[in-house]
Symmetry: C3
Subunit: 469 residues, 3 copies
């Protein structure tokens, strides 16, 4: 009945602060939570198997048997591993109508078929099970550290019970986030076990690219001159070679952000429908485009600083000075070449503008900024500005090559300059994209993306009118 139920739950949690909260389990997290609760003005009762034997508990807390402790409070926090939930079946009557907060975590993602909280709700069907606090560490609770995330993800089927626990969370100085009903519990339990799941593919991919181009450049620029000219170029490993590897990696990663989009468009054109699912690898690739782009931005940032640092390097100063001295001694003429000035300046300028747009893209992908823009604005920035960035960065690399682009002198052991390899993917993406935005193809693609199908499963599809969204 509605009314009885309402009476069973405290209406205003903090009306008088000496409310009692019961904590089952005297492990580290239970004790830390109890300590924090005491600090914030609550009375704490611990429930334990051997109440006489429990030590180390925060002073001021009472320790009772499970059943005695449960009777003292409407809120019971269960700081016990899932494997030991069984004893609760003996307490079903006492726990009836009470709020049971499950704080447990597992060791692996999706360790059990159902979440711990749902399992608990089946064990004690009369209690209002709430999942909370599992994303907070005991250490953070105790040290009161503000550094770590203070967000407590909360879910549960009973909204009043959930509200009470969210008030309790707030009273402890933490921020509750309502995650809906108890089906969200499995996500909440998996959450603290993840370590950057979306960043793995970009990270390994960039590591592979870096290592490949590192060896490539070492062969061309350290080993080759050593073999043929007995020059010791190892000092290039510190700046020159990273400053070749990083921009190449950045450009390839940036192109790989836009490659899945054009592959998806080609697939849709080929299949003539958007209602086929993409293959799994393409789906995963599309989901980590943001991370790919941010890793690319990191490498671009490194490239910018490595480049700006050039004039203060010992090697560069030494070479420039020697050139000048040689010229001064020979009294040779050094005519000004406008085309060289144009090449040098436009190459640098394209790079700067590309980097600038790249930084703007990066800032826009910050969660708080991307939450402020709507879908239309987000598409404008990430698609229009994104392609502009790719075009500028590719042009920067092309102009860098300049006159010597396909000169055979550049080959060493038949290996072309590394930047020529770097241009393959970006140019491919840009060419395909250019074809895709030609009016005839773009129109078909738009229709497909608005739900049109080339070979609909039955021919009546044209009948359902324009009234539906």
């Amino acid at each position: 009945m509605e009314k009885t139920y309402t009476d069973a739950l405290p209406l205003t949690l903090h009306s008088e602060k000496q409310e009692i909260v019961c904590v089952f389990g005297t492990g580290d997290f239970g004790r830390s939570l109890g300590f924090k609760l005491l600090q914030c003005g609550y009375s704490v009762v611990f429930g334990s198997r051997n109440p006489q034997m429990s030590s180390l508990l925060p002073s001021g807390a009472e320790v009772l048997s499970y059943s005695e402790a449960a009777q003292k409070s409407d809120i019971i926090i269960l700081a016990i591993h899932r494997e030991h939930f069984d004893f609760l079946s003996e307490l079903i009557d006492i726990l009836n109508g009470k709020i049971l907060v499950d704080v447990s975590n597992n060791l692996k993602i999706n360790q059990y078929p159902e979440s711990n909280a749902e399992y608990l709700a089946q064990l004690v069907p009369g209690a209002h099970v709430i999942k909370a606090f599992n994303t907070i560490s005991a250490w953070a609770l105790q040290s009161g550290s503000l550094d770590a995330s203070r967000q407590v993800l909360v879910c549960g089927n009973n909204s009043k019970a959930k509200q009470n626990i969210m008030d309790l969370v707030r009273a402890l100085g933490l921020t509750p986030l309502d995650q809906g009903s108890l089906v969200a519990a499995s996500d909440i339990e998996n959450y603290p076990l993840q370590l950057f799941p979306m960043w793995r593919f970009p990270f390994y991919l960039s590591a592979v690219l870096c290592i490949f181009f590192l060896f490539y450049c070492v062969i061309r620029e350290v080993i080759y001159p050593y073999v043929y000219q007995k020059e010791d170029n190892t000092f290039r490993l510190a700046i020159s070679i990273p400053n070749r590897v990083f921009p190449i990696t950045a450009l390839i990663l940036l192109a790989l952000v836009y490659l899945p989009g054009v592959i998806a468009a080609m697939l849709q054109l080929y299949q003539g429908t958007k209602y086929h699912r993409f293959p799994g690898w393409l789906d995963h690739w599309m989901l980590c485009r943001k991370q790919l782009g941010l890793v690319a931005l990191g490498f671009a940032f490194l490239h910018v600083i490595y480049t700006l640092v050039i004039p203060i390097r010992y090697y560069v100063r030494w070479r420039l000075r020697n050139l000048t001295i040689a010229q001064a001694i020979d009294k040779k003429d050094n005519p000004f070449s406008t085309s060289s000035a144009w090449l040098s300046d436009s190459y640098v300028s394209l790079g700067i503008l590309g980097f600038f747009l790249f930084v703007v893209l990066g800032i826009t992908s910050l969660p708080s900024v991307s939450n402020m823009v709507n879908w239309r604005e987000f598409r404008f920035v990430q698609s229009k500005l994104g392609y502009l960035t790719l075009i500028l960065c590719t042009a920067h690399t092309l102009v860098y090559g300049g006159k010597k682009f396909l000169s055979p002198l550049i080959l060493r052991w038949y290996l072309p300059s590394a930047y020529i390899l770097a241009l393959i993917i970006p140019c491919t993406v840009l060419v395909i994209k250019f074809i895709l935005i030609m009016p005839c193809i773009d129109k078909t693609l738009m229709q497909i993306r608005q739900g049109w199908e080339r070979n609909p499963r039955n021919s009546k599809s044209t009948l359902h009118g324009k009234s539906d969204i």
Copy 2:
């Protein structure tokens, strides 16, 4: 009656997941939403005019007539354009007490006098109308993309119905944001149609400034030397001239951030009250100060990189080398000038400090950071630090001019250097601000801003005491 009403709505939405959701309309968005709902474990019933003829629907979904479909579920999602809402008037009895979710968008901002959702609420007064999902694209729903904003703005007059829909939104992996009652619907409907409304004025203004100063510098630095000295200086278009245009635009925009503030203060002083509304243009100007400042920061950032890149430019290296060689050949003396060192270093140093504070201002204006600071801290940063930035950047430009500031040699075709034009607005703002913070004027202004009026509408105003806030 309260109780009947409560029974009509499902209390715990997800207690068993095979809940039925009804979707009216089999267009692209309806199908995408149905697909997503099926994926997340819901049963989906489509309502259609011609149920036999509807094709392309996700497998597993049932298609019925509108009235049959509506009877199957408590939640009816209306994926139909506003123009075709009329048929709902026949279903008034069936829809009574049900949750009707309007996902429709219009083509223009404020296309109709009332929002679609409010219009729907008038059409079907017995239903609980909720506005939701209109900010999400069908494409995002289907591809499960995390890139785009996952926020679903929700509003509605009935809080339980709203809660149910927010739970539904969460179950689809999206983030619901409660926007209050149905009056918020018109804002929610306008939201996805906007394309950076606050950025337009700053964007066009900076474009105009850039183009004006671009032509100004081209005349002075490319055409003038070509006419008189037959020099080909076109290569300056790539770096030298942008690096003159960008800092000028940045400085003027930064000054324009603070100009409306001093204009408003002068208006208040002149009118002797703060209860006069400002003219519309001033209001609009004040509202886009943040965007003006961020565009200015963008130009300042470009200026910094264009400047740092100077020593690696071909032209600069060529000129430096030639100067050195000429001196070496002539064996001329090159005495060290402490005053030049002071001018050069302090000019650079002021610029760096100004840019640093500018970046700090920019970071503080990130939504997540500005949400963390209170009004007092925000004012401190944006006003105190902001003026300090303006002072440093203006001083940077003044010292840049240095000795040659008003030398007549700098005139070309009677045009002064561009940076002298750039100083007009910043210096004006700083001078007025300096006058405004003089004690006597500042005190009057403070009084006015605390509600005092020079010519109150009736003379008893002094009577209402200090008790009110």
Copy 3:
């Protein structure tokens, strides 16, 4: 009774917009709020001591006596200082069951033993007291400025009354944030009075460090050469000396971010338990580590730009040119030193990588980013990446010293180079950390952090099993 209570509160606030809101107090904030309410379509009734004498009120608002005004509305906003709350005791009957919104602020943090809102709730026990709007300024309300934080912190014991006020806040275009029950009021009242409380210690500390090293460098690099060689090196004050002081401050501050962590670990090892509280200074230090790190990042950023600017300085160009000319005239040989190239390049490269990681750490500490990562990811970034940053930056400084590190020639007036002083704290932190992560010590520390104690208060602690979290 539940039912009467529900009837007393308006269920749907905005069903018809001409709802009446009563504002007590006709001061600046009261008038501004009334003005805004009228703008948003509400009817406003002001309550005043002398209704005939109140002037300056927004047109369209009615002014009545307190009791008459209170009877007109269910929501009464109290724009009156706490010192003048007394008159409310006469209105207890009229205010019964109404929503009383307290907007008051105090002049000092924790000025009164209980918060204004709680005091109000004691004065008028029959009303539903809600704290709101105190974080918003009258100026922001009136000018409709979007610049300032639009967040309205709301708390109150009655959830329906709170919901109504949150709807009202949303209708005014502001963002309500539920802060729980009325115990949160004292925090909400202190909030707008704070001025960067966590930033003070880092700010003063860095100021002290800067000033000390500024004098230190001035003595060594300006006064010393002036005394012994009569050189005027004052121009070094603009760039050279800041570029020595800033990196030193950055490195020391970065080390001080990690010092409290190793002190805490040593304390825990010494005490053999984690359940002793740390001394107050250590607690405070640990809480402002994030701010310390961000200040350090600011100095590192300045150091980077000051360094990149080196080649465009007049002094540097003059010196390089003179060196070249002298060599050209003497036709001296200038052999290439691979070890110098290695030292110079690796020193620069270490600095760039350290700065890059530092920037990544800074971005991760943005509120919106740190809210997206879980505890495990946060620890990975801030601890692993943080120490890597410290190692790279320390190595950068060590290699900078290079060959001349402990050469006696570097002493001036027995003062070593400033960077040698800068290395003391970072090296100490790294050495202690290195000892702490040695397996035997690390294992003990882990046990202590999981709740184990060397000297438990009673010996039975081993009995409570592994079942508890």
